[in-house]
C-alpha cells in the first residue's frame, strides 16, 4: 500500500466539511435510523455496507435527490438543506451516478459541455467545445478518443470516466462516487485514482462507495461501515483490516429474530438440474440441483447476476451455454428455455423483480391482474371467460393472501406495494406450477406484508414445490431458505445449508470474486474492443 503512504496527513487535523446529524429516512420502511456521519475536507472516505444498508440513500440525501425524514446536515459549518439536485450542485456537491446521465446520440464534446453549449445567440461554438472537451478527456486519460465521437459508441467504462471528467471540471467541494470502477480497466482505474487524489489534495471531500476491498485499501483515507441504516464504525484505513470490516457489516445475528421456522420437510427430490449455465455479461458456469419441498436462496451483491440467472431459468432471457434437465423426462433431454411461455410449459413461474414495469397491468384491476395467467382454465369451448368463476377465484385467493382492497375492480395502481406484490404472487399460485422463482419478493413492502410473503414462500415448499428466492437482504434469505447459494461477480461463490448459515460467511462469499486477482467482469471485453477510436 505504498500509495496510501502519500496521504498528506494526519487526517485528524483536517476541518470538517460535512456534518450529518441524526438523520432518519423512511420510505415504506425505515432506511436510515438516527445516522450521524462526518466527512472532512481533503479526505477520501469509503462507505461500506451490504445491500440495503443505506449507503445509496445517505448519498442521495447529501446530493439533494431525497430529503431526510428527520435530522440535520451542516456543510462548512452552515445548515445545509438541499431541496433538489440543483441546490446541492450550487453548494458545490456533486454525485457521479451508477446509472449514467448522458445523451447517447450526442457527441462527447456536447455531453461534456451540455449545460453551456452555445454562445449568447444559441449557436454552438464547436471549436470551443472541442478545446474544452479535449482538455477534460486528457484529465481522465481518454486522449485516444476524439471529442466528436457519439457517446453511444463508447463502452460503459469510458462513459463513466467522461461523466467523472465532466463533474470534476467544475469547481466542487464535495464529490460522491458510487461504484465507479465496476466497468473500468486497470489503467483506467489508476488514472481515476490519480484524479481523485488530486482533488483530495485540493481540499475536496470525497465519499467513495465500493464493494471492492482492495480498492478501498488503495484509495481511501478513512472508512465508515453502515448496517441497517446506522453507522456502526468509522476508522482510519490503516487501523482496520478486511476481516473486521466484513464483521462490522454483518453484525450480530442475535439481534434479529427468525420468525419462520423451516417446518417439517416433505421428502425432497430433485426436479431440475442446471448444468454449466452461462450468459455473457451476467453469469457463468452455474451448476445447481433444484429440489421439490425446498426453498433455495440466492444471495450476492446487486449486479452479481442473480436476477439474470432467474430470468434465464424462466426463459425471459436466453442462456448462451449450458442446459436444464427436468425430472419430468428423467433428466434425459438437455434444454434451454427460449421464452417465458416455454418456461411455464415446463412448470416454472417467476415473480419478477420490477413488478411495476414487468409484472403488473397497472391501469387494470386487481381482478384482471390476478386472473391473467389462468384465463385458459376459465373458458368454455368458445373461449368465453366465465366472469363469475374468475371473480370468485380471485376473491378467494386475495383473501387467502390477505390482499387488502376496497374494490376488486379498481386499478391495481391504487393498491400499496405489498398488496401489489401479493397480487403478483397470487397470479402464480393460481397457476400451481411445480417450480416457483421469486426475485426480491419483499422489495418496497411493509413489514407485515413481508412476513406474510415469507410465510407464503415457506408454505409453497411445504406443499412440495421447488422454490428459489433471490434477495439482497441476507436476513430475508436466512429466514426463508433451506439452502443458500451465493453469486459473486457472476460466479457461484459458495453453498450453505441451514446449519452453516451466517451473515458473515454469506457476505464474505459475495465479495469473493470482486478482488483484482479474479478474472474481471465481462464488460471489460467490450472495453478492450472499442479502444480503437471510431472516428
Amino acid at each position: 500500500m505504498t500509495e496510501s503512504l502519500s496521504t498528506p496527513v494526519n487526517s485528524g487535523d483536517l476541518p470538517v466539511l460535512l456534518d450529518v446529524k441524526a438523520l432518519d429516512k423512511t420510505f415504506a420502511v425505515p432506511v436510515l435510523k438516527n445516522l450521524s456521519f462526518q466527512l472532512r475536507k481533503g479526505e477520501i472516505h469509503a462507505l461500506m455496507g451490504s445491500n440495503g444498508a443505506g449507503k445509496s440513500t445517505l448519498c442521495n440525501i447529501i446530493a439533494g435527490i431525497h430529503q431526510p425524514t428527520a435530522g440535520e446536515m451542516y456543510f462548512l459549518g452552515e445548515k445545509y438543506t438541499p431541496n433538489d439536485v440543483k441546490a446541492a450542485e450550487e453548494a458545490g456537491i456533486r454525485m457521479v451516478m451508477q446509472e449514467l446521465n448522458l445523451f447517447p446520440t450526442l457527441s462527447i464534446a456536447e455531453n461534456l459541455c451540455f449545460k453551456n453549449l452555445g454562445n449568447k445567440f444559441g449557436i454552438i461554438d464547436s471549436k470551443r467545445l472541442r478545446e474544452r472537451a479535449t482538455k477534460l478527456l486528457d484529465l481522465v486519460g481518454l486522449d485516444d478518443v476524439t471529442p466528436e465521437t457519439p457517446m453511444e459508441d463508447l463502452g460503459v467504462g469510458k462513459q463513466q470516466l467522461i461523466e467523472i471528467a465532466s463533474v470534476i471540471s467544475e469547481p466542487i467541494k464535495l464529490l460522491i462516487v458510487d461504484e465507479p470502477t465496476a466497468a473500468l480497466t486497470d489503467p483506467q482505474i489508476d488514472l481515476l485514482f490519480e484524479q481523485l487524489r488530486k482533488l483530495r489534495d485540493q481540499g475536496v471531500g470525497i465519499i467513495y462507495i465500493s464493494h471492492r476491498m482492495d480498492e478501498i485499501q488503495r484509495i481511501a483515507d478513512r472508512v465508515s461501515v453502515l448496517r441497517d441504516g446506522q453507522l456502526v464504525a468509522t476508522e482510519d484505513i490503516k487501523d482496520i483490516d478486511v476481516e473486521t470490516i466484513v464483521n462490522l457489516m454483518s453484525g450480530d445475528l442475535d439481534s434479529h429474530s427468525i420468525s419462520i421456522k423451516p417446518g417439517i420437510r416433505p421428502p425432497k427430490s430433485c426436479v431440475l438440474r442446471v448444468r454449466t449455465l452461462s450468459k455473457v455479461g451476467a453469469f457463468e458456469d452455474i451448476n445447481l440441483d433444484i429440489y421439490s419441498g425446498e426453498v433455495l436462496g440466492i444471495g450476492g451483491l446487486i449486479g452479481s447476476g442473480r436476477t439474470e440467472l432467474l430470468r434465464t431459468l424462466f426463459g425471459a432471457d436466453v442462456a448462451d451455454a449450458g442446459s436444464l434437465r427436468f425430472a419430468s423426462d428423467d433428466f434425459l433431454f438437455p434444454r434451454l428455455m427460449r421464452s417465458p411461455e416455454e418456461g411455464v410449459a415446463n412448470g416454472i413461474g417467476l415473480v419478477v423483480e420490477d413488478r411495476k414495469s414487468q409484472g403488473l397491468l397497472l391501469q387494470k384491476s386487481l381482478l384482471r391482474n390476478i386472473s391473467l395467467s389462468i384465463l385458459p382454465q376459465l373458458t368454455n369451448k368458445f373461449a368465453v371467460v366465465d366472469k363469475q368463476r374468475e371473480h370468485d377465484i380471485a376473491v378467494e385467493i386475495a383473501q387467502r393472501l390477505a390482499i387488502k382492497f376496497d374494490n376488486i375492480r379498481a386499478p391495481i395502481a391504487s393498491l400499496s406495494g405489498g398488496n401489489q406484490q401479493k397480487a403478483l404472487i397470487a397470479r402464480w399460485l393460481l397457476r400451481d406450477l411445480p417450480i416457483l422463482l421469486f426475485d426480491e419478493p419483499s422489495r418496497g413492502v411493509d413489514a407485515r406484508a413481508k412476513t406474510r410473503i415469507h410465510e407464503l414462500i415457506r408454505e409453497q415448499a411445504l406443499k412440495g414445490k421447488a422454490v428459489i428466492v433471490v434477495s439482497s437482504e441476507t436476513q430475508e434469505l436466512m429466514t426463508v431458505s433451506d439452502r443458500i447459494i451465493v453469486l459473486s461477480n457472476g460466479r457461484m461463490a459458495g453453498e450453505f445449508d441451514r446449519a452453516s448459515f451466517s451473515e458473515e460467511k454469506l457476505l464474505e462469499a459475495s465479495f469473493r470474486f470482486y478482488n483484482k486477482s479474479s478474472p474481471q467482469h465481462k464488460t471489460n471485453d467490450k472495453e478492450q474492443q472499442d479502444v480503437s477510436p471510431t472516428h
Binding site: 425471459a316 403488473l360 391501469q363 384482471r368 395467467s373 373461449a383 368465453v384 376496497d406 374494490n407 375492480r409
Partner: protein, 331 residues
C-alpha cells in the same frame, strides 16, 4: 347502476350518444331535409366499409399498434374482386373469397413482420400501404373497373328494411367483435398486451402470436371493407380509400380507444363512425364549403377526444361519486 345495465349499453357510450344526438339535433335544426328516414337510411348505407375497417383499427390500437395500410388494402381487395369478376369471370362468391384472402395475407404479413422482428407497426404498415396501393394499380391497370349488377346485392338496400346487406353484415361484425373483446380470452389478452406487453410475456403468454392474429383480423376486415365498397360503388376504384386509415383512426379515437393501447371498445368506435358520417352528411346537406367542412370536422374530432379525456371526472361528478369509476375492462 341497475338502470344502466338494462339499457345494455356500455356505460361510457353515453357521452358519445350525447354527442351524436347533439349533432343530429343541430343539423335537424339547420336543415329542413336532414331529419328524415331517407337521410338516415342513406347515411347508414354509406358506412359499412368504414365501420368494419374501424373495428380492425380498434383491435390494432388496443394492442398498442397502428395499421396505416387499411385504406390501400381495401382498395386492393376490391380491385382483386372486381378483376376476378369482370376479367376472369369467376363466380361472385369465389371472387369475394379471393378479395378477403388478399386482405388476410396483408394483415398476417404486417403482424408477423412487426411483432416477430420487433419493428414498429407504424413503419411496417406504412410500407404495406404503398405495396397494396401499387398492387391495386397493377391489378386494375390504374383504371376503374365497372362491375355493375353482379355485386349490387351487397350494397343496394334490401327491400322493406331499406338498409343494405353490407350494413347488416358490418353491424354483425361490430357485435361479434365487441363480444370477442369483452367476453373472450382473446379480448383479455389484447387489453393486457396493450397495457404492458412485457408483463404479459413474463406471465408466460406469448404476445407475438396474439399480435399477429390481431393484424390478420384487421387485414381481413380491410378486405371485407373492400368488398362492401365494391358493392356500394358497383365498381373497383384503384384510388379508393386514400386517407381512409385516418378516418378510421379518427372514428376509433373519437370512440375513446387509447392510441397507446390497453383501452378501447368496438361499439364506441362504431359510434365514432356514426358521428363522422352524420357530420359529413349534415355538412353536405347544408352545402357548407369544403374548407369549412374540413375545419369543422377537425374541431369535432378534437372536441370529442377532449370530452372523452375528461369524461371520467365528469361522469363522477354527475353520479355524485368522487372516484373509483370502474375501469372500462371491468364492465
Amino acid at each position: 347502476m341497475p338502470g344502466l345495465k338494462k339499457l345494455h349499453l356500455p356505460w361510457n357510450s353515453l357521452g358519445l350518444i350525447g354527442v351524436l344526438i347533439a349533432l343530429i339535433l343541430f343539423f335537424s335544426f339547420m336543415s329542413d331535409y336532414f331529419f328524415s328516414t331517407v337521410t338516415f337510411r342513406t347515411l347508414v348505407n354509406q358506412i359499412p366499409a368504414l365501420t368494419v375497417i374501424s373495428v380492425g383499427m380498434t383491435y390494432v390500437l388496443l394492442i398498442g399498434g397502428i395499421d396505416l395500410s387499411v385504406g390501400s388494402v381495401m382498395a386492393l381487395s376490391a380491385a382483386v374482386v372486381g378483376v376476378a369478376i369482370a376479367d376472369f369471370h369467376l363466380p361472385v362468391l369465389i371472387a369475394i373469397v379471393c378479395g378477403l384472402a388478399v386482405g388476410f395475407i396483408f394483415g398476417v404479413t404486417s403482424g408477423f413482420v412487426s411483432s416477430h422482428w420487433k419493428i414498429p407497426s407504424f413503419v411496417v404498415t406504412l410500407g404495406m400501404l404503398e405495396i397494396a396501393r401499387g398492387g391495386s394499380y397493377l391489378v386494375t391497370q390504374s383504371e376503374t373497373k365497372y362491375i355493375g349488377d353482379p355485386v349490387a346485392f351487397i350494397g343496394d338496400p334490401v327491400p322493406v328494411v331499406g338498409i343494405s346487406a353490407a350494413l347488416i353484415a358490418a353491424v354483425s361484425v361490430v357485435i361479434v367483435a365487441q363480444w370477442l373483446l369483452s367476453k373472450t380470452i382473446f379480448g383479455r389478452y389484447m387489453i393486457a398486451i396493450g397495457t404492458n406487453e412485457e408483463a404479459v410475456r413474463l406471465a408466460g403468454i406469448n404476445p407475438v402470436s396474439w399480435k399477429i392474429v390481431v393484424f390478420a383480423i384487421a387485414g381481413l376486415l380491410a378486405g371485407l371493407g373492400g368488398v362492401f365498397q365494391l358493392g356500394y360503388l358497383q365498381s373497383a376504384d384503384p384510388n379508393a380509400g386514400i386517407g381512409l386509415e385516418l378516418s378510421a383512426i379518427a372514428a376509433v379515437v373519437i370512440g375513446g380507444t387509447s392510441l397507446s393501447g390497453g383501452r378501447g371498445s368496438v361499439v364506441n368506435s362504431f359510434f365514432g363512425v356514426l358521428i363522422i358520417a352524420v357530420m359529413q352528411t349534415g355538412l353536405a346537406q347544408l352545402g357548407v364549403s369544403e374548407s369549412s367542412k374540413r375545419i369543422i370536422t377537425g374541431l369535432v374530432i378534437i372536441a370529442a377526444v377532449l370530452f372523452d379525456q375528461y369524461r371520467e371526472p365528469l361522469a363522477a361528478r354527475l353520479s355524485g361519486k368522487n372516484k373509483r369509476i370502474p375501469t372500462f375492462d371491468d364492465n
